[in-house]
């Protein structure tokens, strides 16, 4: 019973940039952690019951057939009184997480900004480029209901959005990402080390890095490599670079750039291109562009790896697809639904990665098991937020393999 209880908020590692929380601020995050688990576990089961007991029978009676698409289930469930209540609870949880996080950050913003400025002035880890446009898919709505998205400022040069993202992630994922919220990056490292124990990539590109919580573990695991972590959002990068510097990491650089235009990098200049929970935050035209650019900058024999929630497929029940779609319509994730509906293997193939060079792998957050319990398994998982992912990847064929294939 006790073993699956989430750890207290105070178990988070206090790196140099993490906003300090008072007793009650930490307690509010503890409440949200438990509240979210309750919503996805005990109460989440009510959605399936409502669907099977009354929504699906009513649909069959009205249409004389089974639902054929997750959107049909969504339309029907959005009229169900239980699902509406559950969605209202969950939406409020997301909004409270933002509000609580922003209170923590904004009341100490002077200190945080000063500290970030100090780190960034001396570390050399930050390279901003104000000429980089904020893409429409980042500004159409504030993703995750995070006020200001990843890119906005409360005042010039501030770190609000990055700090707020870092300080509240614990509550949203129920403490499943570990002390540095880096369970995703640690999982990627664990996979790579197991897959190719002797592989020593020299240059690594992380696209869409936000606060660098998944790129830093890669830099730490490959100290001889140079990691370039890019994002269009300078406001997040200011926090990311300061955070990495406070952790003593020196072989990473945070560069403001768009994955759609990697022209600053030569062909074949990276051994590894990584994205973690990023592709779903793009758009239908941006995603293939980024994959094509990734293919171009990746050296033959190099690795491309995307960590995402599972793609929807014909094998995935429509009801599960509908549940996984909740964030698209209720938590400002507008590309989530379309992205997960695509056949990512075909998209990767069009970008240049032959189907036979591709693979998928299951990865699970790697955290300190003494403090952090494993993420709840299937059946109780918080769809879209569980720290259990699918990795979609490819080893780019080298010249000899390409010739052989041709």
């Amino acid at each position: 019973m006790a073993s699956d209880l989430p750890p207290p908020y105070t178990a988070l590692t206090r790196h140099g940039m993490l906003p300090r929380t008072t007793h009650d601020e930490a307690a509010r995050f503890n409440f949200l952690t438990h509240f979210n688990r309750h919503l996805s576990g005990a109460l989440g089961a009510g959605n399936k019951q409502a669907y099977e007991q009354r929504v699906l029978p009513a649909f069959r009676a009205e249409h004389g057939r089974e639902p054929e698409h997750r959107y049909e289930i969504r339309d029907a469930m959005n009229r169900d009184r239980w699902h509406r209540m559950w969605s209202a609870l969950k939406r409020n949880s997301m909004e409270m997480r933002q509000h609580f996080g922003r209170q923590v950050v904004l009341r100490q913003l002077d200190e945080l900004d000063a500290m970030a400025a100090q780190y960034n002035e001396h570390s050399g880890l930050l390279e901003l480029d104000p000429s980089v446009d904020q893409p429409a898919y980042q500004t159409a709505v504030d993703i995750h209901c995070q006020p200001g998205g990843y890119h906005s400022e409360e005042r010039p040069g501030d770190v609000t959005v990055g700090a707020n993202y870092d300080v509240g992630l614990f509550a949203t994922v129920g403490g499943a990402l570990g002390g540095l919220n880096d369970g995703g990056g640690q999982a990627v490292v664990g996979w790579a080390k197991a897959e190719r124990p002797d592989w020593q990539p020299k240059r690594i590109l992380d696209i869409g890095c936000t606060v660098g919580h998944n790129a830093v573990p890669i830099a730490q695991a490959y100290p001889d490599a140079e990691v370039i972590a890019i994002d269009t959002a300078g406001a997040s990068l200011r926090y990311a670079a300061a955070r990495a510097a406070s952790l003593g990491v020196t072989n990473i650089k945070f560069v403001q750039a768009s994955g759609e235009d990697l022209s600053r990098f030569d062909d074949g200049s990276f051994d590894w291109v990584q994205t973690t929970m990023f592709l779903h935050e793009l758009s239908a035209t941006a995603m293939p562009r980024i994959l094509e650019e990734s293919f171009r900058v990746l050296a033959p024999g190099g690795l491309i790896l995307h960590v995402e929630q599972p793609q929807y497929s014909d094998e995935m029940p429509l009801f599960e697809q509908f549940m996984r779609d909740w964030d698209a319509f209720n938590n400002n994730e507008p590309f989530w639904s379309a992205m997960h509906g695509q056949d990512l293997k075909q998209v990767m193939a069009k970008a240049g990665f032959p189907l036979d060079s591709q693979f998928t792998a299951g990865v699970r957050a790697v955290v300190d098991p003494d403090i952090f319990p494993p993420s709840p398994d299937e059946g109780e998982e918080d769809f879209g937020r569980a720290a259990i992912w699918n990795a979609y990847g490819a080893w780019k064929p080298d010249a000899a393999q390409s010739a052989q294939a041709a």
Binding site: H23, D24, A27, R28, N30, F31, L32, F35, R84, M85, S87, A88, L89, R91, N92, S93, E95, M96, Q98, H99, F100, R102, Q103, L106, R107, Q108, L109, D110, T139, A140, V141, D142, C145, Q146, P147, G148, G149, E154, R155, F329, N330, N332
Partner: protein, 119 residues
């Protein structure tokens, strides 16, 4: 403390993007927001009390077992009973007053307003 920033007002900034309406009556959407925020505050207050009790015990001021086994004497019991009764009355006021109104036969307030403007 940030002097120039109104952190209380700024922290509640709305996220860009239309918010779904979950209920037919928007008042219910608002009520959920308030009730859940208050649930979070109560949880934080309970956690703070737990911290206090543990620190008091750790500093040798008050064993926590004494709290669990505490039994009020007659006078303390009466004081607490009255406080609890008053508390229940406060949080249930809306229900209590609606029950009373069933037999009150009040006219709409507009009738009173119009009558007093003439009489």
């Amino acid at each position: 403390m940030s002097e120039e920033l109104d952190w209380v007002a700024l922290s509640g900034k709305r996220a860009k993007g239309k918010r779904p309406e979950y209920f037919d009556d928007p008042a219910l959407d608002r009520l959920y927001s308030t009730v859940l925020a208050m649930a979070a505050e109560l949880s934080a207050a309970r956690e703070r009390q737990d911290t206090l009790e543990r620190l008091l015990e750790a500093h040798g001021v008050l064993p926590r077992a004494e709290i669990e086994s505490y039994e009020p004497d007659r006078s303390a019991g009466e004081e607490r009973a009255l406080a609890t009764k008053a508390y229940v009355a406060r949080i249930m006021r809306g229900f209590q007053q609606e029950a009373e109104a069933i037999s009150a036969d009040d006219p709409p307030i507009m009738e009173v307003v119009e009558r007093l403007s003439k009489e």
